[in-house]
Symmetry: C2
């Protein structure tokens, strides 16, 4: 799967069509979407299924799916938990 193509589809869907949406809400959705793609790519690189990742992090595959599809604006700790505990990779966050 190509992240960029899918992200463009997302832009069309939210920016193009439902034009009354605020910039902040739009950006929030974009962010959730991008992070979802990042998680999915990292999970596949680690050769885990959604269910395996869910078990390792004490949650359910349905929830992982929701996150990977950018369906919710998750908490920082949730993302951290999935990346660090579930995939054993460091999550890097910096400003500027």
């Amino acid at each position: 799967m190509n992240s960029i193509t899918t992200f463009e589809e997302h832009l069309d869907k939210y920016h193009g069509k439902q034009g009354t949406e605020s910039r902040v809400k739009f950006d929030t959705k974009s962010l959730a979407f991008r992070l979802g793609v990042m998680l999915q790519e990292a999970r596949k690189e680690a050769n885990l299924t959604q269910e395996e990742l869910a078990i390792k992090t004490g949650t359910k595959k349905s929830y992982i799916s929701r996150i990977e599809n950018g369906k919710s604006d998750i908490q920082l700790s949730t993302f951290y938990k999935l990346i660090e505990f579930g995939l054993g990779k460091p999550l890097n966050i910096s400003i500027g």
Copy 2:
């Protein structure tokens, strides 16, 4: 203020003393704390008060204070909003 020193104090407080806390919960608190310090440092670099940042992002100074002190496990979009809209700086997130 030195981030590392303060973070060590945090380690002492949560890791040393209240030892029954789960690793995940502990890490969540550390994360919130570290991000709070990052935000505060970036805000000061931008020469803004908590109140000014609050106004720019449509919230209140009391909420900014809570975040800077790592008192809550905020959502990704909240952190993003403060950094990108409030401070005009990019928020970088990556895995690995």
